[in-house]
């Protein structure tokens, strides 16, 4: 289970926020044009396909794909079942579409949760400093060092026992905010020393004004990137647990589809598609998320004259 | 004698290319210290890169040529195409005294021998260097130390040692003392002058501080908007500047003990992107006439060894100190 990490250097760029005085001739802030580079556009296209596909199509699905034995087992691809059926008599394509939807929902839910917590903790620790910061960073470093999978295995019983699918999301949020908090805190540390913070203070701005009007714009660049990385991390974490059968595998997700495929030996029954489809879908989705993340990163960096 | 013949350096950027050095012709006698001065963006650093041969995209030597006047091992005259092989053997470079021109994770000594110009027998070279740096006011242990253990002044002495211990014919120093305190700066400049006298070679010194130029250089080149506007013996350039820009540059600097009013030069150098006709200083020049705006002045020898590119070279501004145009 890879917690997809921010590449060290890009966060270092953002952390340093080095605003070297831009070379003249003077560039006016040219609307939103600077945002779109090829990487970002490609990533957004992929994501759009996945998001629209997985959130719209389910309305057209008559049969709940999680229901087993609704069709003949291991049918090959046919007009009725574009990707054939699974070893449990479910339509592979519909199961995959629901899997993508559930995984994305979980990802976004955890993304929002972690972004909120890590920003609050990162901003406050970075800005307030002192004992509070040392204490927070001790916890952060411990959470980063402690592998998350074993903890999820402990809580496996709670995950499986509980009927709400998003319980695992809550657990991931509780244990997954450390990476982002650490990055945001290091960014705020470097921003706190910057001269314009003093300028704002001498213009009468209070701590809250400074956090929102001075620090937040610089941090917001990372928040977008951090959010997407967290979505990636959450989908990955749940899928990892599901693949080894320790998550709510009856709910279709990018992990549980592979769990069933492995356990009902898609390989031996020749039903490759059942295993191949989720692999391709996951790789494409993650590639899309990654391209959007690095695309945003490059765009924000170039806007601040850092690239 | 280093000869520059109508040298043009251009930068290729997204918006087309601009000439950062636009047709400079000079003859630099051997054994002198040539100071190159001018506001930021006037092309002085680009000129240094050209002479050193550090030409890589997006910069290119668009036109003109440079001859160095000293031959290589086989007697061939060295030109701007072949100078690269002679880096740190016949020609050397002292970087801006930014604090980290030395590799922070490697001992200082090993950085004296990790370049091809150095003698392959590393041990012998280090012995020579150990003796040599003593003369530069550096303790012997400097070679075994790491850069972060040295003070700013000591690090700059190491750079000077590195650039001089193999007796090059030409040394290029780009703002060597900018980041240093004024007391340490004086020691470093005195050291440079002594070394030049002993070795009798040529030093090109870029600095934005006219005081540093007056103290160190024997010849001065003033650049403005990619053009050479004045070139001559330092004494006569400082005492009787021909070009109004040079005079205003010197007059804009306060001097202790001299209470005359001083004024900055209003306005800004023209952008090199726009079409430039006539004298590029015309907009800011108090003596500017119609001729100045239409016909570009050539660099002409108005006095022995003292050139200026100005149609009104030598004419006095309003009584010095009280610039008429304010």
């Amino acid at each position: 289970m890879t917690a997809t990490r921010q590449t060290a250097a890009t966060s270092a760029d953002l952390a340093a926020g080095r605003a070297t005085p831009p070379s003249r001739p003077r560039r006016t802030a040219a609307g939103w044009l600077w945002l779109f580079n090829t990487r970002l556009v490609l990533g957004l296209v992929i994501l759009a396909i996945f998001v629209v596909g997985s959130f719209v199509l389910p309305f057209f699905c008559r049969v709940d794909p999680a229901l087993q034995a609704s069709y003949m087992k291991n049918l090959h691809a046919s007009p009725a079942h574009w990707l054939g059926t699974t070893g449990l008599g479910q339509d592979t394509l519909w199961f995959l579409i629901f899997a993508v939807r559930n995984s994305l929902t979980l990802g976004i839910f955890v993304g929002i949760g972690i972004s909120a917590i890590s920003t609050a903790i990162g901003l406050s620790a970075g800005y307030i400093g002192g004992l509070y910061e040392r204490l927070v960073m001790l916890i952060v470093d411990s959470f980063i060092t402690i592998p998350l999978l074993p903890i999820l295995i402990i809580l496996g019983a709670a995950i499986r026992g509980n009927n709400n699918f998003l319980t695992i999301g809550v657990i991931i949020v509780v244990f997954g905010w450390a990476w982002n908090a650490r990055t945001i805190r290091s960014m705020v540390l470097s921003l706190r020393e910057r001269e314009f913070i003093n300028m704002a203070r001498f213009s009468g701005a209070g701590t809250l004004d400074i956090l929102i009007r001075e620090i937040f714009p610089y941090v917001s660049a990372y928040l977008v990137v951090g959010f997407i990385n967290t979505v990636l991390f959450a989908i990955n974490t749940e899928a990892t647990l599901a693949v080894i059968g320790l998550s709510k595998v009856e709910v279709p997700t990018l992990g549980s589809i592979i769990f069933w495929a492995l356990n009902y030996n898609a390989l031996f029954t020749g039903n490759f598609v059942w295993l191949l489809a989720p692999i391709v879908a996951t790789v494409l989705l993650f590639l899309g998320l990654f391209l959007v993340s690095t695309g945003f990163n490059a765009a924000f960096a170039s806007k601040r004259g850092v690239a | 004698m280093i000869r520059l013949d109508n040298v043009v350096a251009s930068y290729r950027t997204g918006r087309g290319s601009i000439n950062a050095v636009d047709g400079v012709s000079l003859e630099i006698p051997d054994g002198c210290i040539l100071g190159v001065a001018g506001e930021s963006g006037c092309g002085k650093s680009t000129l240094m890169k050209l002479i050193y041969g550090d030409v890589q995209s997006p910069m290119a030597l668009a036109a003109g040529s440079i001859e160095y006047g000293f031959a290589d091992g086989r007697g061939q005259p060295i030109t701007s195409q072949t100078i690269r092989q002679h880096w740190f053997s016949r020609i050397s470079y002292i970087p801006q005294s930014s604090m980290n021109s030395l590799n922070p994770v490697v001992r200082v000594g090993s950085q004296f021998v990790d370049f091809p110009g150095a003698d392959p027998d590393k041990k012998r070279v280090l012995e020579q260097v150990r003796a040599y740096i003593g003369k530069l006011g550096l303790p012997v242990e400097t070679l075994d130390a790491y850069p972060h253990q040295l003070s700013g002044g000591m690090r700059q002495r190491v750079m000077i040692a590195m650039a001089t211990f193999f007796q090059p014919d030409l040394i290029l120093a780009d703002e060597p003392t900018t980041a240093l305190d004024v007391v340490v700066q004086k020691d470093i400049l005195m050291l440079l002058m002594e070394l030049q006298e002993q070795m009798g070679n040529t030093i090109l010194l870029v600095s934005h501080d006219m005081g540093v130029h007056y103290q160190v250089t024997t010849r001065m080149l003033i650049m403005y908007a990619a053009k050479a506007v004045e070139y001559g013996e330092s004494e006569s350039v400082f005492r009787a500047p021909l070009h109004p820009y040079t005079r205003m540059l010197i007059d804009s600097l306060p001097t202790i003990g001299d209470d005359r009013a001083r004024d900055g030069i209003p306005g800004r150098p023209p952008s090199l992107w726009q079409e430039l006709r006539g004298c590029r200083f015309a907009d800011r020049c108090p003596l500017a006439t119609a001729r100045c705006r239409s016909e570009e002045p050539a660099l002409v020898e108005h006095r022995p060894n003292h050139f200026a590119a100005c149609h009104h070279a030598g004419e006095l501004l309003a009584p010095s100190g009280g610039p008429a145009w304010q």
Binding site: P22, F202, R304 | E39, V183, Q185, M210, R262, G264
Partner: protein, 273 residues
């Protein structure tokens, strides 16, 4: 004679390293400064890097808490035991000008928003009054409000941006403006525009300045008094002309001798062949 600026036994000690072995750096070493005058003055604090001049500036701006001692500007205690934080009265008395104008403004905010904020929050103007105050302040530094409104830092030169920064500092009408190396990032040929501006603001607008610099020539040209600092200690203080013409302390002499002037040469230069 009104006390413009007085520091009594001002100390600042930085403790480096953790509990095992800590090194002490005395940034300010019992600094006693006393500037009294009925008319506005420009006081320069000169010294090399590490001399403590910036720490002194930061202490007067309450950006740094002194280890001991007190500092007062006119009748207000600006730094000392128990004096903490930046409140409105302090902002009306002391305003800063920072070294790098490009760093002094956030890239994401228009430059004039800082003027507005200062006018409203510190000088107590209402929204309309703020625009008027900003325009007046910009005029005082030779800039037109229309040229500044709605623009970002990358649309200015260093010199222009520093003048905007000065204008912002003028709005609350402070008793003392603390300028920390205000011209070191500006082209040598255009520094005098800012330096002459300081002199004009002192004479016409009645503002006093504390001018922190390592450039003794501009200090001589502009200041009434000069304080020379070395390794955290105030080694010499007095009228600028007198201190520079007849330095008493060896360090001041060393500093003055080291300045590369264009008057007399350190070594005779034989003309090249």
């Amino acid at each position: 004679m009104a006390v413009i600026l007085r520091t009594e036994g001002l100390n600042k000690v930085y403790r480096l390293g953790s509990f095992t072995r800590s090194r002490e750096i005395r940034a300010l070493n019992d600094v006693n400064l006393n500037v009294e005058s009925d008319t506005p003055v420009i006081v320069s604090v000169v010294g090399e890097s590490g001399s403590g001049k910036t720490t002194l500036a930061k202490t007067l701006l309450r950006l740094v808490q002194p280890s001991s001692g007190r500092a007062t500007i006119y009748d207000r205690v600006v730094a000392g035991p128990g004096v903490r934080g930046i409140d409105k009265q302090f902002l009306a008395a002391v305003q800063p000008i920072f070294q790098n104008p490009f760093e002094a403004f956030s890239r994401y905010r228009t430059v004039d928003s800082y003027l507005h904020e200062t006018a409203i929050r510190v000088a107590g103007h209402d929204r309309a009054g703020a625009t008027d105050a900003s325009a007046k302040a910009l005029a005082a530094v030779g800039l037109d409000y229309a040229d500044v409104r709605g623009k970002y830092t990358n649309q200015f030169s260093g010199g222009e941006l520093q003048r905007v920064s000065i204008a912002r500092a003028l709005i609350p009408g402070p008793s003392l403006i603390v300028a920390d190396e205000p011209v070191s990032m500006i082209d040598a040929s255009r520094r005098m525009i800012i330096i002459n501006l300081f002199r004009r603001l002192k004479e016409e607008a009645g503002r006093s300045f504390l001018y922190i610099t390592h450039d003794l020539a501009t200090a001589y040209y502009i200041s009434d008094y000069v304080a020379v600092m070395s390794k955290g200690t105030l080694v010499e203080f007095g009228p600028a002309r007198q201190v520079m013409a007849d330095p008493q302390h060896a360090y001041t002499r060393l500093l003055l001798d080291s300045i590369p002037t264009t008057r007399t040469r350190w070594r005779p230069r034989k003309a090249a062949a």
